[in-house]
């Protein structure tokens, strides 16, 4: 019987211990993106940028609150994304979130944010449905959607005289979305899609698909998917001596693609909404601060958006206080808000309008804006 | 009509005839010894009889009903049970669990009944418990106390006893004992045979076939014996007579 009493005393001790847990006065903001896995480069760049925004804000000495960034890893997998989104949303200390690089993940999590009433700003995912499929007031987005991206892409490619395409997409909502919007933009311009191939992002061997594409002999291979899959497809095209132009989407605009594909990356095209970071209104300052902060990873293509989203949230909290509902209302009312990516205005679906689409080509191991490249100047030629 | 009759039973593995046109018959109350050198087909015969091996040729009948191609389960149903040369008890299960498996025919294994009729199950378990302890106490009263302990805690001879009891509890008509003395001392073998003879006295209609290497045992307990060599029957009769058979001597006893 004694032992039982000892145990009860122990439990009571533990209970008191827990009663004394301190409560911090920090305002928590979550960051969700892929921190591990094939597309982690983009996610880490985004996290660093959001972290930078929080650090600068805390160091400025002018903010009412002290902020803390809670970074969570969605691994670019919808199911993991739903888990961490639930975790973040379920924590009452988290006021808002800078969330998602992968469209596939964002499509899964928007319901969670809506259910728990957590206002979030998407910083990288480009599928239109994320903001437009539902009328969720919690969801906002600072970057543009893939619609404009594909319009520009289709126009540009047709202008350059390409006539036939084969489409490979990774079957996620992201890949399917690109497939849909690109075909839509292409058909009025007279371009023809000879074949569409759904692949699995984790697939290793693409020779079967590529052999079939080789038979169709299109001018261009359009790839709707992310960098790791893109690298494999580009490398295996070489196995089959295919000289098609490789046209990617915003999902491959990442240093990881160049690192993975090596020499084969030369001449790969891709399109992305928003100006290149260094050409953004606040781009120079951002790059300077980012370099000063000495992060291990580069900001990558969407770092500036993540930075802007974090700042937008902190501005709202400064104004209305750390309360989810108030912050959500404040974010919805965003109009002509100054940021490093230019003026941010949300439409009634929380979507920022981003007019500029940038065309990229890989030249000498770098993503170069088309207009500045030797290809545009005629010094270099694409494979077809 | 004989209880069991086996006619020209043949079992072969690839080209090897492990059992070659073996004929044999058994009446109620018989106690037959099955002897022969290693690999002469004794265990193969048991396996063929209990449906584990399917014979290529020949026939087996029990009470005149053909059971040549019957499954092990069907052979159990007609009352043929056996022990194994290498013990086939489950060491981690209790003595009771091991024994009661022999009683399979009398157990209700319907899932619904087992899950929802717990009172009925409990009554049945108690019945079977007392049946098992009765059986054990006939064999060796000391064993009754071990009824709920795992078999792994028992000595070799006790495990042999349990295996024989498992066969007996099914109330067989034909009992096949595959070298029960393997791994035991002379004294232990003697004790086990005593137990067996005591049991046999009480149920005189039980027919037993015993595979055994110790000729003393065969001599003492059986009333007939069959000698196998290379899968063929080379002699049959009382041990004293058979053991003088020159064929048997050369093949088995190694004498000139």
């Amino acid at each position: 019987m004694n032992k039982v009493i000892v145990k009860i005393l122990l439990m009571a001790f533990l209970a008191t211990l827990i009663g004394c847990s301190d409560s911090s006065n920090k305002v928590k903001i979550t960051f969700i993106g892929p921190l591990t896995g094939g597309v982690s480069a983009g996610g880490l760049g985004g996290r660093n940028s959001a972290e930078l925004a929080v650090r600068l804000r805390n160091a400025s000495g002018q903010s009412k609150y002290s902020y803390e960034l809670v970074p969570l890893d969605d691994e670019c997998k919808p199911n993991i994304g739903v888990q961490v989104a639930t975790k973040a949303s379920a924590d009452p200390a988290v006021i808002a979130g800078v969330t998602h690089y992968c469209s596939a993940v964002a499509m899964g999590t928007v319901d969670i944010y809506h259910k728990f009433g957590l206002p979030v700003i998407v910083w990288g995912a480009v599928l239109p449905d994320i903001t437009y499929a539902n009328d969720y007031k919690e969801i906002h987005r600072v970057n543009g959607t893939m619609i404009n991206q594909n319009e520009v892409a289709a126009n540009f490619m047709v202008e350059r005289g390409y006539k036939t395409w084969a489409v490979i997409h990774d079957t996620t909502d992201y890949g399917k979305g690109h497939n849909e919007y690109f075909s839509k933009s292409l058909s009025p311009l007279g371009g023809k899609i000879l074949g569409t191939f759904a692949v699995n992002a984790e697939q290793q061997d693409f020779t079967a698909e590529l052999t079939q594409i080789k038979r169709l002999n299109p001018d261009v291979i359009y790839f709707g998917g992310l960098a790791p899959t893109g690298v494999r497809i580009r490398a295996q095209m070489e196995k089959l001596a295919m000289d098609q132009v490789f046209q990617g989407t915003s999902g491959i605009v990442s240093d990881a693609f160049i690192e993975g594909a090596g020499d084969l990356a030369e001449g790969v095209l891709a399109f992305r909404e928003g100006a290149p970071t260094e050409k953004l209104p606040g781009g120079a300052v951002f790059i300077e601060k980012y370099t000063e902060a000495n992060f291990n990873e580069p900001p990558e293509a969407y770092g500036a958006f993540s930075f802007a989203a974090a700042n937008l949230i902190m501005d709202a909290i400064e104004k209305v206080g750390p309360d989810r509902i108030a912050v959500m209302a404040e974010l919805n009312a965003t109009n002509d808000h100054d940021s490093i990516i230019g003026k941010i205005s949300f439409d009634d679906h929380g979507q920022n309008t981003v007019a500029v689409i940038t065309k990229y080509v890989i030249q000498d191991g770098k993503w170069v804006v088309w207009e500045d490249s030797s290809y545009a100047a005629g010094a270099k030629r694409l494979t077809r | 009509m004989s209880l069991l009759s086996v006619d020209r039973l043949t079992v072969s593995f690839g080209g090897l005839r492990a059992l070659d046109e073996f004929s044999f018959s058994l009446s109620e109350g018989d106690f037959v010894g099955l002897i022969g050198p290693n690999g002469s087909g004794k265990t193969t015969f048991f396996n063929a009889l209990t449906g584990i091996y399917k014979p290529q040729f020949g026939s087996v009948s029990v009470d005149g009903n053909d059971v040549t191609k019957a499954s092990p389960q069907a052979m159990y149903e007609v009352g043929v049970t056996r022990t194994f040369q290498r013990l086939r008890l489950v060491p981690s299960l209790s003595v009771f669990d091991n024994l009661i498996v022999g009683s399979q025919r009398g157990l209700n294994t319907n899932l619904w009944w087992n899950i929802f009729k717990r009172a009925g199950l409990r009554k049945k378990v108690d019945e079977e418990l007392s049946r098992c302890s009765d059986l054990l106490s006939q064999f060796n009263p000391r064993l009754v106390g071990t009824l709920l302990s795992p078999v792994s805690t028992l000595s070799m001879i006790d495990r042999r006893r349990i295996e024989v009891c498992r066969a007996l509890i099914s109330q067989p008509r034909i009992l096949l004992l595959d070298e029960p003395s393997a791994g035991m001392t002379h004294e232990e073998t003697r004790m086990l045979m005593e137990d067996l003879l005591t049991w046999k006295e009480r149920s005189p209609s039980l027919a037993i076939v015993l595979i055994e290497h110790e000729m003393g045992v065969i001599d003492r307990v059986t009333n007939r014996c069959v000698v196998l060599n290379y899968g063929k029957k080379i002699a049959e009769g009382e041990y004293q007579i058979v053991s003088q058979d020159p064929l048997v001597k050369t093949a088995y006893l190694g004498e000139e």
Binding site: A90, D111, T171 | Q73, R88, S94, Q104, L121
Partner: protein
């Protein structure tokens, strides 16, 4: 009489202690607190093992199964209410309860009849996908959807029965491994089932009670929507527990054990091994399907990536870590394997690594698991000296 009271008292105390541990384990957030709770739990285990308290406690509970089960059930409900506003803790609790349910089924397959199923998560997934599809296309009561999900898992599992019965050992292991991979690949390439993107699933509502809304708990205020799910999972878990335990402690369990240990001896005593294998396999998959169904509507979203081969491994490891065949042991093992890595942010990134190392160590040095299986007890007082 005194003994009787003492027994009940002891069980209540046990349930309270276990309940408090689970509550704090789920409630606390900081790593050092979690480490403290787990350390304390391990300490309690070690001390009580030295004094042979665990065996005595288990014995006491086994003798009064109905009372123990109701007390532990009440303790579990108390935990759920204590956590009523903590969404994430409840989500984890529900997940653990569902995993435990699947592992009960796996115990019947692996622990009783000896069929190792490396596709456990696939059957869980079949249940989840059935639920998702039925919600979308069929207008049948939600309660029936759960049941149907279990049935579909069992029916699809029956495709594997023929190959599994014909093969043994590693060859049989290959069948389930191949099926697990096949299932996941199929989901990924199959567009109508959402492909790698996955499917959204509506929440359950039974008799007008929507499981996805926060619920009013009267005096206790508003509870998280997960309260209802965790209670549903708890009930499912309890029912399967009682079912599997009763099955173990009956002629069915006996025959299954015989089939696992020695098919030839079993057959020689009239047992038909294939029937028992089919029964255990189908039943286990049915349980997995039921659990998968609730999981799908609780998480609101399912994707092929949730049903990886690695997840099947986690399930098999839970069964082995606890102690193969011991139905109770699944419970602590599942808590450790599922919740601990979630809780320890420190080790989160290293969780699979640490998990792998722990399983290796246990298999190497304590192959019978943390709570080895005890003897069969056909009824509570069997073998108790009167």
């Amino acid at each position: 009489m005194a003994n009787f009271v003492k027994g009940h008292f002891l069980i209540t105390i046990l349930a309270t202690i276990a309940g408090l541990f689970v509550y704090f384990f789920l409630h606390l957030e900081r790593s050092w607190e979690i480490v403290l709770v787990v350390g304390l739990a391990v300490l309690t285990m070690v001390v009580s093992r030295r004094k042979n308290l665990i065996a005595r406690a288990q014995e006491t509970c086994l003798q009064k199964p109905k009372f123990s089960i109701s007390v532990f059930f009440v303790a579990a409900v108390a935990i759920i209410f204590a956590l009523r506003s903590e969404h994430f803790a409840l989500l984890m609790l529900t997940t653990v309860l569902l995993y435990i349910t699947v592992c009960f089924g796996l115990t019947a397959q692996f622990g009783f009849v000896g069929l190792v199923n490396f596709a456990g998560i696939a059957f869980f997934g079949i249940g989840a996908y059935t639920t998702a599809v039925l919600y979308q296309y069929a207008a049948i009561p939600d309660f029936l959807i759960i049941l149907a999900s279990g049935l579909v898992a069992a029916v699809i599992g029956s495709i594997l029965i023929l190959p599994i019965l014909r093969t043994k050992g590693h060859y049989a292991a290959l069948i389930t491994i191949a099926f697990g991979v096949l299932f996941r690949t199929f989901l990924e390439v199959n567009d109508t089932l959402g492909g790698p993107q996955g499917l959204k699933v509506d929440g359950i509502s039974v008799f007008g009670l929507s499981f996805n809304e926060n619920i009013n708990l009267g005096l206790l205020g508003t509870g998280s929507s997960y309260v209802t799910y965790s209670i549903l999972a708890l009930v499912l878990c309890l029912v399967t527990f009682v079912f599997v335990r009763r099955m173990e402690n009956s002629w069915v369990g006996l025959n299954m054990d015989m089939v696992r240990h020695d098919e030839i001896a079993a057959a020689s005593f009239g047992i038909h091994p294939p029937s028992w294998k089919i029964l255990a396999f189908t039943l286990g998959n049915f349980f997995a399907g039921l659990a998968g169904s609730i999981y799908a509507s609780m998480s609101g979203f399912i994707a092929p990536a949730s049903f990886n081969f690695a997840d099947s491994l986690v399930l098999v490891s839970i069964v082995l870590l606890g102690g193969l065949g011991n139905v109770f042991s699944v419970i602590p093992a599942a808590f450790l394997v599922v919740v601990l890595p979630e809780k320890l942010q420190l080790i989160q990134e290293y969780r699979l690594l640490i998990f792998g190392i722990v399983v290796i160590l246990i298999l190497r040095f304590k192959p019978s698991g943390i709570m080895p299986r005890g003897a069969r007890r056909y009824y509570p007082s069997l073998g108790v000296k009167k």
